[in-house]
C-alpha cells in the first residue's frame, strides 16, 4: 500500500490560526482551529499541525504539499513594527513617498490625516543619477556618493534598504548597479530595488511598494525561516509554498524576496474558495460575499477568473476610505471591504436617520447579546431579535445570546425614531443589506459587470444570514453556502496553483510597438517567472505562461485588460491585439471610440504550475432523514407583518435529497443560513447548500 498523499494548508489570521488537511484519495478533510500565538506565530502552527496529525494518526511524511498564508505582513505594516529602513532615491526625489498624490481623500474633513511614510525623511538619501522616460541615461550614477551613503547607513544601524530611481521600470541599469554596490558594501542587509518589486510607472506608488517590501523583509525572513525549519523538524519534508495576494502560491525564497506580495493573502484564500465552490456547482460568474464580525468583503469573478489589480492600498488611516492607505503596486485580487459586520453598531446620523457601522463592537465587548459588556445595538442583535439567530446555538452553543439585552440595546434608538424595536431590527437588517449591495453594485459598475446573472457564494459567520437579502438587492437569483465556512481561506489555499507574475509598464501605440525590444522584455519576465515556479519543484513541462495586456485608447487613463497568447510577437499580432481590445472595450462601454489610436500600457506575464486537484469532497450527509419533522420558531420577515412560524434545520443532519421552501432557517456551528420567503433551499454537491429564487427552480 502506498503512503497517502495529503495536502496541508495553514492560515494565520489576526485571532485564529486555521489548519486544514485534505486527503485526495478518500476525499476526506480534517480541520483544526486554534488561537494565533504572539509574538511567535509559528509556534501555534507547529503545535496545531502536530495535534491534528496525531489525532488522525497521520504520519508527517504523508504530507506531500504545504501551503501557507498569513496576516503577519499586513499587521506589521498596520502596526508599524517593521525594520529600520532607508530609501535611496534619485537626487531631488526623496520626498515622493511623502508628497504622494497631493490630494485629500475626504473633501470635507479639515482635520484629515495622511498615512505617514514608512521611512522618515532623514533616512531618505539623494543619489545623484538620472534616467529619462525613454530609458536613456541623462546623468551617470555617482558611485562615490553612493559609497558615502552606505557608510552613513552602517552608522545609522539600518536594517533594510529600498532603492527607487526614476524611470527604473524602463531601464533598471542604475538600480542594478546601485544594488550591487550596496550589497557589496553592506553584506547581509536585505535590499529591495523598485524595478524588481514593482516595475510600473508612477514614482509614488512604486517607491511606496518598494519601501513597504524592505520594511517587512527582515521580519518575514525570520518568521519563514523559523516555520520552514519547524515543519521539517516535525517530519514534514514537503516544501513550503507561500500564498500570494494575487491568488497564486510561491516558494519561500521568492516570498522572502518579495514579502509585500503576501499582503492580504488570507482574503485571497477566501476568494479562491469562493471560486472553487462556484466552479464545482457550474457557476463561473460569481460574487464571493464574506461577512464577519466587523467587515464584509466582496470579490467578483468573471468567466471563472478572478480580477487582479496592480493598484491597492494597505494600512489605511481610515479603514474604509479609499486613498487613506499606503499605495501598493503589486498584483492583488480585487476586493471591496466595507464596515458592515455582525458587530457593526447602529446609530443616528446627522440627518437623524438610522445608520449602521463602520464603528463595530467587534468581538470584545461584542454585540449586546453577548452579555460581555456591549450595550450598543448591533447587526447581530437585530438578527437575533428577528429570530434569524438561535440564542442557544450561536457558535454551536459555545456563546449563548441574551435576547433581552439585545432588546434593551435597541430601545433608545427605536424611541428616537418612533419605531417599535422589532420594526427597527427589521429596518437595520435591510439597511445593512442595502449598504453591502450598494458597495457591490458600484464595484461591479467600475468593472463593467452586470450582477443580475451572477451567483453568490456566501461565507463568514454573518454571510449566510444576510445572503438572500443582499442577493435580492442585486437581482442575484442563486446562492451557494459552502461547507467548511470556518476555515474558508485555508481551504482556498489548497486550490491555489503555484504561480508568479510580473507586470511591466511599456507604453506604446500598437502601431509603434518596438517588437524586438518588447519580445526581449517578455522573454526576461517569463524566464524569471519560470525560474521561480520551477524552484517550487514544478516540472518544466507543467509550467505554463500567460500574457495579458492592459490597453486603452490614447488619451484615456483606465486600461482594459486583454488576455493574449504568450508567444513571440510579430507584426501580424498587432491587428489581433486590436481586435481583442475592441471586443473587451465594447463589453465595458457599449461603443468604440472609432478612429482613436490604441496603446498598450502594461504587460503582465503570469507563470503557473498546475493547481492541486481537489475533485470533490465526501459530502457528509446527516443521519436524520429528510422527512423528520424540523423544529420551529417565530421569525420576522417584514416590518409590519407578525413573525412567521418557521422551520429550523440542522445542516449536519440534512440528507443529500433534502430541500425546503422558504422561509426556513438552517443552523450550523459556524453560521446560520436564512432562507427568505420566495427562495428555496436544497443540498447540492460536496455538502453545499444551494438557495434559488423561486422562479429559478
Amino acid at each position: 500500500m502506498t503512503l497517502p498523499q495529503l495536502l496541508l494548508a495553514v492560515d494565520i489570521g489576526g485571532t485564529f490560526t486555521d489548519i486544514v488537511v485534505f486527503d485526495p484519495q478518500s476525499r476526506q478533510i480534517w480541520v483544526e482551529k486554534l488561537l494565533t500565538s504572539y509574538p511567535d506565530p509559528a509556534a501555534a502552527v507547529l503545535d496545531g499541525v502536530s495535534a491534528l496529525l496525531d489525532s488522525q494518526a497521520i504520519s508527517p511524511d504523508a504530507i506531500r504539499y504545504v501551503t501557507h498564508g498569513t496576516t503577519l505582513i499586513t499587521n506589521t505594516l498596520i502596526e508599524r513594527k517593521g525594520a529600520k529602513t532607508a530609501l535611496l532615491s534619485t537626487a531631488g526625489f526623496r520626498d515622493a513617498i511623502e508628497i504622494g498624490n497631493e490630494g485629500r481623500y475626504d473633501m470635507y474633513d479639515l482635520a484629515l490625516v495622511k498615512p505617514k511614510p514608512l521611512v522618515e525623511r532623514r533616512l531618505r538619501f539623494d543619489v545623484p543619477e538620472r534616467t529619462l522616460a525613454d530609458g536613456t541615461i541623462w546623468q551617470e550614477l555617482d558611485t562615490n556618493a553612493l559609497a558615502g551613503i552606505c557608510d552613513q547607513l552602517k552608522d545609522e544601524g539600518i536594517e533594510a534598504i529600498a532603492i527607487c530611481f526614476l524611470h527604473a521600470y524602463t531601464n533598471p541599469a542604475h538600480e542594478l548597479a546601485a544594488l550591487e554596490r550596496v550589497q557589496a558594501r553592506l553584506p547581509g542587509l536585505p535590499v529591495s530595488a523598485s524595478h524588481q518589486v514593482a516595475p510600473g510607472m508612477r514614482e509614488y506608488p512604486r517607491a511606496s511598494t518598494t519601501v513597504a517590501n524592505a520594511y517587512v523583509q527582515p521580519i518575514t525572513e525570520r518568521y519563514l525561516a523559523r516555520l520552514d525549519r519547524g515543519l521539517r523538524q516535525s517530519g514534514i519534508e514537503a516544501p513550503l509554498n507561500i500564498m500570494l495576494s494575487s491568488g497564486g502560491t510561491t516558494t519561500v525564497d521568492a516570498a522572502r524576496a518579495f514579502p509585500v506580495r503576501l499582503v492580504e493573502s488570507g482574503p485571497a484564500g477566501g476568494a479562491l474558495a469562493g471560486l472553487y465552490w462556484g466552479k464545482r456547482l457550474g457557476h463561473r460568474d460569481m460574487l464571493a460575499f464574506d461577512m464577519g464580525g466587523t467587515t464584509a468583503k466582496a470579490v467578483l469573478t468573471r468567466a471563472g477568473e478572478l480580477s487582479i489589480s496592480n493598484q491597492s492600498e494597505v494600512a489605511h488611516v481610515h479603514r474604509f476610505k479609499r486613498g487613506s492607505g499606503l499605495p501598493l503596486m503589486v498584483p492583488m485580487i480585487e476586493m471591496i471591504e466595507i464596515g458592515a459586520g455582525g458587530g457593526s453598531i447602529a446609530h443616528l446620523n446627522r440627518l437623524g436617520l438610522p445608520a449602521v457601522g463602520p464603528q463595530s463592537a467587534g468581538s470584545d465587548p461584542g454585540p449586546a447579546a453577548y452579555a460581555l459588556g456591549g450595550v450598543e445595538p448591533t447587526v447581530t442583535d437585530a438578527d437575533l431579535l428577528l429570530g434569524y439567530l438561535n440564542p442557544d446555538y450561536f457558535a454551536g452553543g459555545d456563546l449563548p445570546l441574551d435576547v433581552n439585552r439585545s432588546r434593551t440595546s435597541f430601545e433608545r434608538l427605536a424611541a428616537a425614531l418612533g419605531l417599535s424595536v422589532d420594526s427597527l431590527a427589521w429596518g437595520l437588517h435591510q439597511l445593512v443589506n442595502e449598504n453591502m449591495a450598494s458597495a457591490a453594485r458600484v464595484h461591479a459598475a467600475e468593472r463593467g459587470l452586470e450582477l443580475r446573472r451572477y451567483s453568490m457564494v456566501a461565507t463568514g459567520g454573518a454571510g449566510p444570514v444576510h445572503a438572500c437579502g443582499v442577493a435580492g438587492g442585486l437581482g442575484i437569483r442563486r446562492i451557494i453556502i459552502p461547507p467548511l465556512a470556518g476555515v474558508g481561506s485555508a481551504f482556498g489555499f489548497l486550490t491555489a496553483p503555484i504561480a508568479f507574475d510580473f507586470t511591466r509598464s511599456y507604453v506604446a501605440r500598437l502601431s509603434e510597438l518596438d517588437l524586438s525590444e518588447l519580445n526581449g522584455i517578455l522573454r526576461d519576465l517569463e524566464t524569471e517567472g519560470r525560474r521561480i515556479v520551477a524552484g517550487a519543484g514544478v516540472p518544466a513541462d507543467d509550467i505554463s505562461a500567460q500574457l495579458s495586456i492592459d490597453m486603452r485608447y490614447v488619451g484615456q487613463g483606465y486600461e482594459v485588460r486583454v488576455p493574449f497568447p504568450m508567444q513571440r510577437l510579430d507584426d501580424n499580432h498587432i491587428a489581433v491585439m486590436q481586435g481583442a481590445f475592441e471586443a473587451e472595450y465594447r463589453r465595458f462601454y457599449g461603443q468604440l471610440a472609432e478612429g482613436v489610436p490604441i496603446e498598450a500600457v502594461n504587460w503582465r506575464v503570469l507563470i503557473t504550475g498546475p493547481a492541486p486537484q481537489i475533485d470533490a469532497l465526501v459530502s457528509r450527509s446527516g443521519s436524520a432523514s429528510a422527512d423528520s419533522p424540523p423544529a420551529c420558531r417565530p421569525v420576522r420577515f417584514a416590518a409590519d407583518a407578525p413573525p412567521q412560524e418557521t422551520p429550523v434545520f440542522r445542516r449536519d443532519q440534512l440528507s443529500e435529497e433534502w430541500r425546503a421552501d422558504g422561509p426556513a432557517i438552517i443552523e450550523e456551528a459556524a453560521s446560520t443560513t436564512v432562507v427568505l420567503p420566495g427562495w428555496t433551499a436544497r443540498m447540492a454537491a460536496d455538502g453545499c447548500l444551494l438557495l434559488l429564487r423561486e422562479d429559478e427552480r
Binding site: F93, R104, R202, P354, G427, A445, A593
Partner: protein, 570 residues
C-alpha cells in the same frame, strides 16, 4: 411620509447610483484632467432641479456650481415636463454654470412611467475650448473660447450634430473634447438606468418625497450647526496677488439664529484680466468651506445651501459682470476659503485651519517635441495647507480644491520635459505651536533643444498665507529662471533649452505662537530637515546642539523668554 428606515435605504441607494454615474463617466473619459486630477462633478436632482446627492469624486468648484445651474437656470427654462425622453441639455455659460468656458455642464432628464422624474447632471473640465489657452491673459470673455449657451445636446436621443460640428471646428483637440462629451452623456444614461431600477424595486413613482425629506433634514442639520455659533458679525480680509496689482477679498459673516450670511462687500472691483469670479463660483467655494468647517458629516445638497446666503457686489472681483474675462477664475475663487476660516476662528478655532497656499499652481507647457510634433501639457501642483489647533498643516496638499497632482514619471512620459528636482521646501511652513504645511520646490527644463511656451498660473508670490492665533505666515511662492530673471507668475514666456525654471510653492500658515511648540517637535523637524537649525532658533527659540542633535535647554529657555517679551512689548 416615508419611514426613516426606508428613507435611509433609498438615500444610500441614491448615493450609490450617483457613484455609478461618476464611475461610468471617469472610466470612459479621454482626459487626465477628468480622470487623474478629478476635475468633475456628478449628481442627481429632483423634478424642480434640487440637487439631492452628489458622487464622492469631485471638486467643490464643480459640485456646487452645477447644483445652482440646474436649479436656477435649467429646470426653470426647460421644465422637465416640456422635455422628451432622450433629451440632454448642455451649457458652458460661466455665469450660469461653473465660472469659465472650459467646464461643460451636461444635464439629462429621466423619464419613468411616461413622466419626467429626475435629472442627472455632471460638469467636467474640457481639455480645450478654443480661444486663448488657459491662463489669465485675456481682456474679455470673447478671447477665451467657444461659448455654448444652454441648448439641447441630444433631442429625443439624436445628437445635435450642428453643435458637435461647431465644437469640432473651434477646439484644438476635438477627439478628446467630443470624446469626453460622450463620456458625460454615458454617465447620465447609466445614472438614469440605475435610478429606474431603483424606482421599480421600491415601487416608487418618483423621488419627490425622498428629496423633500432629505433636503429638509439636511437643512435642519445645517441650521442646527449654525445655531451652535453665537449670533454676531465675524469678519476678515486678505490681500491677494491679483494679475499685476494686488487685490483684496473682504468677507463679513453674519450669524443670526440658524441663518448665516456671507457678504463680500469691500472686495476689489473686477479687473480686465481673466481672473474674475462669477457669483456662482464664489457661492460654491463659500458653501463648501462653511460645510467643511461647520458640518463635515452632513451631506452636501440643496438643503444645505438654504440657510446660507452669499452676496458680493455686482462688478466686484467675486461677482463680475459679463463679459469679463474669467478663464483662470480659480486663482481668486480658491481664496475665498481663507478669510472665511479666519473669520470663523474667532468662535470655532478648533474647527478651522490657518491660511494655506490655497490656489493650485497650474503649469502649462506647449511647443514642438523632438520629432517636430506639437505638444501641450498641463499639470496641477499644491503648496502647503494651514495648521490646525492640534496638528501641523499638510504639506503639498491641495485645499480647497479637490484636485490631485500628477507623478513626475507620467509628466515626463507625456511631454518632453525634465523635472530635475521635486521635493518638499524646508522652512516654508509657517512657524507656530503647530507648523504650517510645507510647500514644494521643483525645477523644470525642456529637453527638445527647442523653445517651449510656459504658461504660469501661480499665486501667493506676493501675499503669504497668514498664520492663525499667533501662528506665523508660510513662505511666499516664487518663480525664477536660471539666468536670474523672474517670469510673470500669471502670464507666459518662452523657456529656452538649457534654461531651468524653479518653482517654489508657498507654505501654509502656522497655528498658535511658535514659542509654544514643544521643543522636542522643533528638534524633530530639524532632524528631518523640515526646518533648518537657524529657523529652529530664529522662529521657535529652540537652540540645538548640532553635534549631538539635542536641545540646549537653558539656552532655549532664555531665548524663548526673550522672544515672548519682545512680542509683548510690540
Amino acid at each position: 411620509m416615508i419611514d426613516p428606515i426606508t428613507l435611509e435605504v433609498i438615500w444610500s441607494r441614491l448615493i450609490s447610483v450617483v457613484d455609478e454615474q461618476a464611475a461610468a463617466l471617469i472610466h470612459s473619459s479621454f482626459t487626465t484632467v477628468v480622470r487623474e486630477a478629478g476635475d468633475l462633478s456628478a449628481g442627481v436632482f429632483d423634478r424642480a432641479g434640487n440637487m439631492i446627492a452628489q458622487s464622492v469624486t469631485g471638486t467643490p468648484g464643480h459640485i456646487n456650481t452645477m447644483a445652482n445651474c440646474v436649479r436656477k437656470h435649467i429646470a426653470p427654462r426647460h421644465p422637465i415636463d416640456s422635455l422628451n425622453p432622450g433629451d440632454t441639455l448642455i451649457t458652458n455659460d460661466p455665469w450660469e454654470a461653473s465660472g469659465h468656458l472650459f467646464d461643460l455642464t451636461i444635464v439629462s432628464p429621466v423619464f419613468y412611467r411616461g413622466r419626467g422624474v429626475a435629472w442627472f447632471a455632471n460638469t467636467c473640465h474640457a481639455v480645450d475650448i478654443g480661444g486663448a489657452t488657459m491662463g489669465g491673459d485675456a481682456r474679455s470673455l470673447y478671447e477665451e473660447g467657444l461659448a455654448i449657451p444652454l441648448m439641447k445636446l441630444f433631442k429625443a436621443g439624436d445628437v445635435n450634430q450642428e453643435l458637435i460640428d461647431i465644437i469640432r471646428a473651434n477646439v484644438r483637440v476635438p477627439e478628446q473634447v467630443i470624446g469626453d462629451i460622450y463620456a458625460q452623456q454615458v454617465g447620465n444614461q447609466v445614472g438614469a438606468r440605475k435610478l429606474i431600477e431603483m424606482l421599480d424595486e421600491y415601487d416608487l413613482p418618483d423621488i419627490e418625497a425622498v428629496s423633500a425629506q432629505i433636503l429638509n433634514r439636511t437643512e435642519s442639520a445645517v441650521r442646527a450647526a449654525i445655531s451652535a455659533l453665537p449670533d454676531g458679525l465675524y469678519q476678515d480680509e486678505i490681500g491677494i496677488d491679483g494679475f499685476d496689482e494686488g487685490l483684496k477679498i473682504a468677507c463679513a459673516l453674519t450669524v443670526k439664529g440658524d441663518e448665516l450670511r456671507v457678504d463680500y462687500t469691500g472686495s476689489s472691483p473686477q479687473v480686465d484680466r481673466g481672473i474674475n469670479v462669477v457669483l456662482n463660483y464664489t457661492h460654491a467655494y463659500t458653501t463648501y468651506t462653511l460645510m467643511a468647517a461647520l458640518a463635515p458629516g452632513i451631506p452636501n445638497n440643496e438643503g444645505a445651501f438654504r440657510p446660507i446666503e452669499v452676496r458680493a457686489p455686482l462688478g466686484s472681483i467675486l461677482n463680475c459682470r459679463r463679459p469679463a474675462p474669467v478663464s483662470a477664475r480659480h486663482l481668486i475663487g480658491h481664496f475665498v476659503s481663507q478669510p472665511l476660516l479666519t473669520a470663523l476662528a474667532e468662535v470655532i478655532p478648533q474647527q478651522v485651519i490657518a491660511n494655506g497656499s490655497a490656489g493650485l499652481w497650474n503649469t502649462m507647457m506647449d511647443g514642438m517635441d523632438a520629432a517636430g510634433e506639437e505638444f501641450a501639457y498641463v499639470f496641477f501642483s499644491a503648496g502647503g495647507m494651514g495648521a490646525a489647533y492640534d496638528r501641523d498643516g499638510l504639506s503639498a496638499t491641495a485645499f480647497p480644491s479637490g484636485i490631485m497632482g500628477v507623478p513626475v514619471e507620467a509628466i515626463e512620459s507625456a511631454a518632453p520635459l525634465l523635472m530635475r528636482r521635486r521635493e518638499l521646501r524646508p522652512d516654508s511652513g509657517g512657524p507656530g505651536q503647530f507648523r504650517g504645511g510645507l510647500g514644494q520646490e521643483m525645477e523644470l527644463e525642456i529637453i527638445t533643444g527647442m523653445n517651449a511656451n510656459h504658461s504660469c498660473m501661480y499665486d501667493r508670490t506676493g501675499n503669504a498665507a497668514a498664520g492663525l492665533l499667533g501662528g506665523k505666515p508660510g513662505a511666499i511662492g516664487a518663480v525664477a529662471l536660471s539666468d536670474g530673471s523672474h517670469p510673470h507668475p500669471k502670464s507666459h514666456y518662452v523657456l529656452k533649452p538649457g534654461q531651468v525654471v524653479t518653482l517654489k510653492l508657498p507654505g501654509g500658515g502656522g497655528f498658535g505662537a511658535p514659542t509654544l511648540r514643544e521643543p522636542g517637535r522643533v528638534l524633530e523637524d530639524a532632524r528631518q530637515a523640515y526646518i533648518s537649525l537657524e529657523a529652529a532658533e530664529r522662529d521657535y527659540g529652540v537652540i540645538i546642539d548640532i553635534d549631538k542633535m539635542t536641545i540646549d535647554c537653558e539656552a532655549t529657555q532664555a531665548r524663548r523668554a526673550e522672544m515672548t517679551q519682545n512680542n509683548e512689548s510690540l
